[in-house]
Amino acid sequence: MKTTHGDVAARKKKGPGALATAYLVIYNVVMTAGWLVIAVGLVRAYLARGSYHGLYYSIEKPLKFFQTGALLEVLSRVFLTWAVTHSVREVRRRLLFYFHFEIIIGYSFNTSSWLNPLRYTFFFALYPMGVSGELLTIYAALPHVQKTGLYSVTLPNKYNFSFDYHGFLILAMVSYIPLFPQLYFHMIRQRKKVLGHVEDYSKVE
């Protein structure tokens, strides 16, 4: 694979147009609602059953719908604009697994940037909480996935392909070890940058 020798063109910082902004606002409101539905569903299911078992299946349909929606968000972000402050990495991580309380708050904060100070500070606590929640959920799901062979494909078949969802999940859990610190510290750096900005504006007044 080749790359061009020399510099990458400097990313032009331009604000999203009116249509793009409207789309993002509506999209974020819908996503907030969606993840809220999922979270409420999970809490209710947990209270009803008294355990984590079968929790996933209680919210499977809305979850799939909103995860597909989150995938669209990645595509729309990539196509629409680089200037939106959230990194693509942040969204990609959200795609990975189920249980994200911080996303609900995050999406609601997306609708107005003056909430940024709150949002970035909340994240200090919520990121680790969210990650632990995700890891626990995956871990709890593992025996079931192994037993039923969920989303797995075995040989022989005419496409000469196989996929072990159980192994994939374990790999995903392991990948948190390098990924989470990077994302967490990136968030902290973003916070310093964004909040630093806000303080400057208030000084200009």
């Binding site: 020399g6 510099d7 400097a10």
Partner: protein, 306 residues
């Protein structure tokens, strides 16, 4: 005779002052001089520009032809550790060649122990091994004897990225094709024969384009010219396409996908196609920018389509 100073593009610190420089000196010579005062920045990792955020100047650029004012200031950016293109290509292609053969010969610890050092009973598996190996031997030989690279080096981190891509995909494909439970193509001999024809046709095509491109450029030069069809019919595709080397490469991998009927091979073909399309579009755009009389009928990679 002029004086020049080199500033850091980001911090604007004065890094180097060059006095008594000949006006017909080149940027390449400036880089050598800069390297003497800063031995850690060898010439290939230097980016010298007239504007801190501007484009890199070329080694061949002559100082007196540059739009410098009386205060001749250059800006420097460190491109990071560099590695030669040849080294990267040889390493990234060696992997697939060796790894595939390891799976083909069913070296221990890949498949169940009872299959160690056995060979597949399907003749298409042997054919696939020959084709895959031929493809990468061809690439290695082209790297050594055919290609004339514009750039000597690329960033060091690319070798890790590129090798992960090539070695990873090669192992993934080879695992299934050489698996004891491999299922041969549905339409049997017809499918395999068609696939082989397509594969070979595109290998010859790809090689013909590489030779044609090489002949555009005298040895040791970095000139760029518009490629045109030659006497070789495989180059007539230049009438319709800017980067037929990529077109043929896609064709060859489609052939290999058809031959092996293996989904991982299809994925590899798809990912490669996406990457080559990006490169082809970039190359096509450069051609259009550089040459006023660039043939309008040509598309970047797929005739009339893409």
């Amino acid at each position: 005779m002029k004086h020049y100073e080199i500033l850091d593009a980001k911090t604007k610190d004065k890094l180097c002052f060059l006095d008594k420089v000949e006006p017909n000196a080149t940027i390449g010579e400036i880089k050598s001089m800069f390297h003497k005062s800063h031995p850690q920045w060898y010439p290939t990792r230097q980016s010298i520009r007239l504007d801190a955020k501007g484009k890199s100047l070329k080694d061949e650029d002559v100082l007196q032809h540059l739009p410098v004012g009386t205060t001749a200031t250059f800006y420097f950016r460190d491109l990071g550790a560099q590695i030669s293109w040849v080294t990267v290509f040889l390493t990234e292609y060696m992997g697939p060649l060796v790894l595939y053969l390891m799976f083909y010969f069913r070296v221990p610890f890949i498949y169940a122990a009872k299959y160690d050092f056995t060979t597949s009973k399907h003749w298409v598996v042997h054919l696939a091994c020959m084709c895959h190996s031929f493809h990468f031997v061809k690439r290695l030989l082209e790297t050594l004897f055919v290609h004339r690279f514009s750039h000597g080096t690329m960033p060091l981190r690319n070798i890790f990225k590129n090798c992960t891509y090539y070695w990873g995909f090669a192992a993934w494909m080879a695992y299934y094709i050489n698996h004891p439970l491999y299922t041969p193509p549905i339409y049997g001999e017809q499918q395999i024969r068609l696939a082989l024809v397509l594969f070979l046709f595109c290998q010859i095509g790809n090689f013909s384009i590489h030779i044609a491109l090489r002949n555009l450029r005298p040895p040791g030069s970095k000139t760029r010219k518009i490629p045109y069809p030659t006497k070789n019919p495989f180059t007539w595709i230049f009438l319709l396409v800017s980067c037929p080397n990529y077109t043929y490469e896609l064709g060859a991998w489609l052939g290999f996908t058809l031959m092996t009927q293996c989904l991982p091979v299809a994925f590899f073909t798809l990912v490669g196609f996406i990457q080559m399309t990006v490169w082809a579009k970039g190359k096509h755009r450069s051609y259009l920018k550089e040459f006023r009389d660039y043939p309008p009928l040509r598309s970047p990679i797929l005739p009339f389509i893409l």
